[in-house]
Every structure is written in C-alpha cells, then in structure tokens.
Symmetry: C2
Subunit: 253 residues, 2 copies
C-alpha cells in the first residue's frame, strides 16, 4: 500500500454550491459532493477513503460549512491537505479547513446541532446573481404570518408530518427531534428562515418552509401547524419547498 502509516481520523469543513451536483451522497453514475471529495483524495494519495458527512444534503442544496470525516493511513500533512484538495476539486466545492480528530469521531452521531438557512426572494424580479440561491416567491404572501408562525416548531416534537419517506426510517424509528430555534425575518427583499435543531429528517427543513408558506398564503393557521407536531401524516403539512433556497450553515459538536 503506498505511503502507509498508522490510521488517522481527519475532519474537513466543506462549502459547496449544490447547483451542479446530485446531492451529497455517492450515487452510481452521478457526480455528488461525497464522490468528488473521495475522488480528489484518491488522486492526491492513491489511497481510497469513505467520507462520512454530518448528514446528506439533497440535490441542489448548498452548504456554507458541512462537516465530513474520514479515516486514512496516508502520511499527507494536514497543513497541505486543504490546498491539495482544492486544487483538484471543482470550484463549486471548497475545503475550508482540515484538522485531525480522535479516531472515534463520527461526523453525524457526534453532532450536537445543525443550523440551516432558507432564503425566499420576495421581489417581483429576482437578480440573476441570486437566482440559484433563493426560492423566488413573488406571489401574495403575508410575511408577518410566516414570521409569527415560525417559532411554533421550537421544542421537542414528533416531526413525522414533515419527513419524506426514507429507507432508513423503518417501523419504530423515532421521528422525534428537538428544534432549539426557529425564526423567520425579513432582510431587504429576502424572507430568511433559520432553524437550529438536534437533527433533521429527510426534507424536513424544506417541509417546514413549505408549511410556513401555506400559513403566509392564508391556507393554514398557526394553530393548524401546532396540531401537526404530534406525529400527523405527511399529507397534512405543506409541500416541499425547492432545494435551491436551502443552506446548511453550521454543524456544532
């Protein structure tokens, strides 16, 4: 085996524009963030890795600071790794920091919280430069109703009504999660929703946003939303908001 040494666990922070990728997770025949990271590391060291993210992001979702970890016996110095990876990665993926962590570090199970941001663009005309990074929604919407309803999600609840079906969610899988903060506010032409929680189910943030938009459109009330938080059916909540408005902002450990 080339360049072999004792096992090390390496944690990377990664920013990406999700537009050109088929999501985080490796999929046969598709270009994904995970596959690009693994390909770049292999090209540098000739040693394969399996990169473990803090969670999967859907196709089209962006990240300011996704966290990912892998184990390797490569001797490559940590100090050189970000530059070497960025040299080989497409410009839409950047490794922003690298550090060595204990071998037991798990990017998903050790995460204490995640912060997501969802950007809704409210003006009639959406700037060509923001378009890939927002959900353009110039239609009638009472922003104040969205802002008022957003904190309803805070606390520990059964979020079944906001989870897409997933092969990982078998019978008995708990869909209870804790939301620490759930806040919407207007920032210029943007209605920004930020949500921090212990963990998120598949499509959960996009379904929270889709439901808040139903509130803003007058199709649901704040109390209707509250009623969905004891394990209501997925069909009872709003549609899934588009991926392009969503950013994974931070993962804490």
């Amino acid at each position: 085996m080339p360049d072999s040494a004792p096992e090390r666990r390496i944690r990377m922070t990664v920013a990406y524009d999700g537009t050109p990728f088929h999501g985080w997770q490796v999929q046969p025949g598709q270009i994904t963030i995970q596959s690009e990271l693994q390909r770049a590391f292999l090209a540098i060291t000739r040693m394969p890795i399996v990169v473990q993210g803090s969670g999967r992001t859907d196709a089209g979702v962006h990240a300011l600071a996704q966290v990912a970890a892998f184990t390797t016996r490569s001797r490559i110095p940590i100090a050189n790794l970000a530059r070497a990876m960025n040299h080989l990665l497409p410009g839409a993926i950047r490794v922003t920091s690298v550090e060595e962590v204990p071998l037991a570090f798990h990017a998903q199970w050790d995460a204490k919280s995640k912060l997501y941001e969802y950007r809704i663009y409210r003006d009639e005309i959406c700037s060509p430069f923001e378009r890939p990074y927002v959900h353009h929604f110039p239609f009638p919407l009472d922003d104040e109703k969205v802002i008022d309803a957003a904190p309803v999600f805070e606390g520990e609840h059964d979020f079944s009504a906001f989870a897409a079906k997933d092969e990982r969610y078998g019978p008995g899988y708990s869909q209870v999660r804790t939301i620490y903060a759930s806040v919407a506010r207007r920032e210029g032409p943007r209605l920004i929703y930020r949500v921090r929680g212990s963990g998120f189910l598949k499509h959960m943030v996009r379904n929270l946003v889709g439901t808040l938009l139903e509130v803003g459109r007058g199709n649901m009330g704040k109390e209707d939303v509250r009623g969905l938080l004891q394990g209501a059916a997925r069909s009872a909540s709003g549609p899934t908001a588009p991926a392009c408005g969503l950013f994974l902002v931070e993962v804490t450990y």
Copy 2:
C-alpha cells in the same frame, strides 16, 4: 402583419449573469443575450426585433444594468413588457425596466458614459458562491501599488495599447477615449476596480486590469503604464484579465 401600429422605440434595462452565454452579440448557433431578448419578444408579439445594446459584452461578462433599445410596431403595453419578457427569458437574464423613448434614441451613440466594475478575489480560498463573479487571484500582489496606479488611466488618452483587434477598428479609427474615473480599492477579500469612461474599446477594461495586475506583481511601474497612453502597441501592456470578474454597472445618457 399581426398587431401592427405606428413605430415605437423602446428602451430596456437588462441584468444578466454572463456565465451561460456566448456574450451579448448574436452569433449563429450560439445562445447570446441579444438573441435571447429577440427570441422572447418574438414569442410574445410574433414580431421580430433587432435589439441594439449600449455595447457588446464579451462571453462571460456580466451586467447589472445594460441598456438596449429596439423599434417595433407591436401594440404591447409598456407596462406589461418586462413581466412578459421575464416569463420567457432564462433566469440568468432579467429585464429590470422598460420605457418608451424618442424614435431617434440610439443605445450606443447616445451613451454619455459607462461604468464598469472588475472584482478580484484575493483570499486563498474563493467562496463557491462568488467564484463565477470574480477573478480569483490569491497570488503575491501588492494591492497598494494597484490602488496607487489605477488613476493613471484618467483623462483623454490613446488606448491602442489596451484594445483587442476588432473588425470595426479600420485604419484611421480613433482609439482615443476619455476616462472620467479609475479607482481601485480593497473591500474585504476583494480588490475592486471601478472605471467610468466615455466609451471603451474591445477588451479594454480587462486589459486595463491585466496591466494593473502587472503593476501589483512588480513587473511594471506606474510610469511605465503612463508611457503606454500615447498609442503604444497592444503587446506593451499586460494580459487580458478573465471575463468572469467584469460587470457592466451603469450606462448614462
């Protein structure tokens, strides 16, 4: 002829992300800004137009407010035109305003000045979200020398040393232009160059920037640049900076 009425001259302000287009100018078999505007208008009114821009932008160059005009006998109300055009245009092109102007209005010849901005990104790691809109230049560069040299271009000069060859520039074509303001400054990780002038030759802003970068790298002095402003050969100045960092910001009339 469908929907025919007296001739009107219409002026549009257009923003575009130049990344996916082969520049402004119609070219056979290529998707350009001009061709997309003409196609959208034809689809709405079934009447062809020839859109005249304030100038051509190169492939990959962006615009916050390009100005374009055309003459039509269509009866379409001005108030509806921006929305109808934006409905049919790709999201990377937006018509931001529309107004009726005198029939004699010429988007290029009537322009009094144009303002361009060029964005150089100086940090080692370039955000994936800014990458298509900057020239990433993390290499050694004395920003202060660039800032100090930028105003040398101000005034009326022969800019032959900064003009690409163009079929429009025959013998006797004057390459004298007036630069009203030429300023570089640091804004966070960005070195921003703004230049306002009476008009610009082909590749001129990108060649001014390429020359300022030579100054910042220590390959040329401010006085060398001054010496190029009496009609020196193109080969005497710096290379052409990449298109993706350039924005047409404003055209005044």
